[in-house]
């Protein structure tokens, strides 16, 4: 068979070189990296065990407390409680808790890494110019592609699942942090400058607080994307609801796949409610009218 495009350079040996370079990274650094990520693994496993070990009503109460703290409204709290009970009734409680643990870890790490990156990006146009294409690639590259190197480095398990999830889910929080800070009314930033705010004071007293609703929207999107990764991540040993879906496919059990899928949807709604009611409260604080 003839190729449609002339082979101008040797792609095969390039590919081989890339592979062997990566293999040597795995050989030389694999163990070190595994050591480095050991605490993270312990953290996730601990969180998962904890959530599964606690009586279900304690977990529900914790979620309700988080919802209340986020929004100070009764309705979302009731909704979240009802959805969690439904999740339990579906019979996928333990799997759901495993998924929650992985997703929370991925979201927290994404925020911890992503918000500072977004801030850095908002401070310089050159930085932004360099990062935007990288973020575009991260979002469009098929997710399975990341799985290969992570699995090679760590072997199947929670760590590669976590890292692949972070790579996939982090772009929105970075982008929206940058956007939120850039959208802050320049007059207010100028006012802060005119009173002698240092760049750091401008950032923390004006830019970040005023960008908060946008940053929260980014965190919300990141949470949702992390959740949507659980099925794919389960292919490399993440466990949880995604693994049930995978088994449903492998065994052609419609019910198993459907129930686990429904569980994922319920989790999505729960986290979306929590994030949104927080976002709304922050927004209301910025444009308060009446009492």
């Amino acid at each position: 068979m003839t190729s449609g495009f002339p082979e101008l350079w040797d792609t095969r040996s390039f590919g081989r070189a890339l592979d062997s370079a990566f293999n040597s990274v795995v050989a030389n650094w694999g163990e070190t990296l595994e050591m480095v990520f050991m605490p993270v693994l312990r953290g996730i496993t601990g969180l998962e065990r904890g959530l599964q070990f606690l009586p279900w009503w304690v977990v529900v109460a914790l979620f309700c407390a988080a919802t209340w703290a986020a929004g100070r409204k009764v309705l979302p709290v009731v909704l979240v409680a009802a959805l969690l009970v439904l999740l339990g009734l579906l019979g996928v409680w333990n799997e759901a808790m495993a998924t929650v643990a992985l997703m929370l870890a991925a979201t927290i790490l994404s925020v911890v890494i992503g918000v500072p990156l977004g801030i850095v990006m908002s401070r310089s146009d050159r930085m932004r110019g360099g990062m935007l294409p990288v973020l575009d690639i991260m979002q469009t590259m098929p997710i399975f592609v990341y799985l290969i190197p992570f699995v090679m480095l760590f072997g199947p398990g929670k760590i590669p699942a976590l890292l692949a999830t972070i790579v996939f889910a982090i772009p929105p929080v970075i982008r929206l942090t940058d956007l939120g800070i850039r959208q802050v009314d320049p007059e207010i930033v100028e006012a802060s400058r005119s009173f002698g705010a240092s760049p750091r004071q401008q950032l923390w007293t004006v830019q970040v607080p005023l960008a908060m609703p946008t940053i929260m929207a980014g965190i919300n999107q990141t949470t949702m994307m992390a959740l949507s990764m659980v099925v794919i991540a389960s292919m490399i040993g993440a466990g949880g609801l995604g693994y049930q879906v995978l088994q449903g496919i492998q065994r052609l059990e419609v019910s198993r796949g459907l129930i686990a899928g429904l569980g994922i949807v319920l989790l999505a709604i729960i986290f979306d409610r929590i994030a949104q009611s927080y976002g709304r409260r922050v927004q209301a604080n910025l444009h308060r009218e009446g009492n």
Binding site: E187, I188, R193, F195, S198, L210, H287, E289, G290
Partner: protein, 339 residues
């Protein structure tokens, strides 16, 4: 004469990619329009020199786009000049490094903005305390001092409100209190009252005059309302297309406009609000002891009410309390009609 507070020496500002190169072209004779068309640079200010003295209210006037905001932002270096020097108490502020500049902005100058620019996520008292907290004043003390300023501008009781809960006039009072709170020597006010409706605006003007009399700050005030300029300004500078056309007291400018542009600017002014009773009092006129009295420093408008009440003549009293002379309705009309 009062000591010089701010001295602006040959300041020019060009916006664009190569300001220095563009400024050289302007010095070579290229005008603002050609500079824009041919090089896509905007001439913001051209060769401005002026002197602002301690304790005075210095008004900068001009049409939209004449460079007023650009000029006032040079006084606290929110904008860096392309050429020239700015001396504050005799020191060139362009030589300040970042730390020195921050300290300067925290303690020496404070700004009030046209669209208030309050921090929407902070309460009124937090907004007013903002400059103090930036300067590291302990929170309790900052809030206490902020409370005093809030009382001074008549907003007691609203400390815990958020800016969006207040009317425009109240928000601008917060802006004023915020600027007063750091006890800066110089207040920069960029069209601070333009966004307010006429009633509240007049109220704020009087309040500012009152504050000025009590606190003796140096105020740089931008407006494009001539009546406001004449009411507030000890000196008025008129800008056009980034150049300075005239500087002088209100009556100097009214009496001898430097050019056609200034003359057109002052044509529609309400003379009753500018001309002073003292200047037109007739020393030979004897008035009844029970005749109404106005101050020599008051505007002619102050005498209107007395005439409307049926008085034949109004006594004019000097600053030292002695009667200087009197005004009749006819004299006032002559003064107003004089062209």
């Amino acid at each position: 004469m009062r000591p010089v507070k701010i001295e602006v020496q040959a300041v020019s500002k060009v916006f664009g990619r190569d300001p220095k190169g563009a400024l050289a072209k302007v010095r070579g004779g290229m005008d603002k329009q050609r500079l824009k068309d041919e090089t896509e640079h905007v001439l913001g200010l051209h060769d401005i020199s002026l002197t602002i003295r301690e304790g005075e209210t210095f008004v900068i006037m001009g049409l939209s786009g004449s460079g007023k905001s650009t000029l006032i932002r040079h006084f606290n270096r929110l904008i860096e000049p392309t050429g020239g020097r700015i001396l504050f108490d005799g020191e060139d502020i362009l030589t300040f490094d970042a730390a020195r500049l921050q300290a300067f902005r925290r303690r020496k100058v404070a700004m009030v903005f046209q669209r208030f620019a309050l921090l929407p996520h902070k309460t009124v008292v937090e907004n007013v305390a903002y400059g103090l907290t930036l300067d590291g004043v302990p929170k309790a003390e900052a809030l206490r001092r902020a409370g005093e300023q809030i009382a001074l501008v008549g907003l007691s009781g609203f400390e815990k409100s958020y800016p969006a809960q207040l009317s425009g006039g109240m928000q601008q009072r917060v802006g004023l209190a915020r600027a007063l709170a750091t006890d800066a020597e110089v207040l920069l006010m960029d069209e601070a009252f333009s966004a307010l409706d006429p009633l509240i605006r007049h109220d704020m003007q009087l309040q500012l005059k009152d504050l000025q009399a009590r606190l003796g700050k140096t105020i740089v005030f931008i407006t494009h309302d001539l009546d406001e300029a004449l009411l507030l300004g000890d000196h008025i500078a008129i800008l056009k297309d980034g150049t300075l056309r005239q500087v002088g007291t209100g009556s100097e400018i009214l009496a001898r406009p430097a050019d056609d542009y200034v003359a057109r600017f002052v044509r529609d002014v309400n003379r009753a609000r500018i001309l002073l009773c003292g200047a037109f009092a007739d020393a030979g006129l004897i008035v009844a002891p029970d005749a109404p009295v106005v101050e020599a420093g008051a505007t002619l408008e102050a005498a209107f009410a007395a005439f409307a009440g049926g008085a034949q003549a109004v006594a004019v009293r000097n600053g030292d309390g002695r009667i200087k002379g009197a005004l009749t309705a006819q004299r006032v009309m002559e003064a107003l009609a004089r062209e």
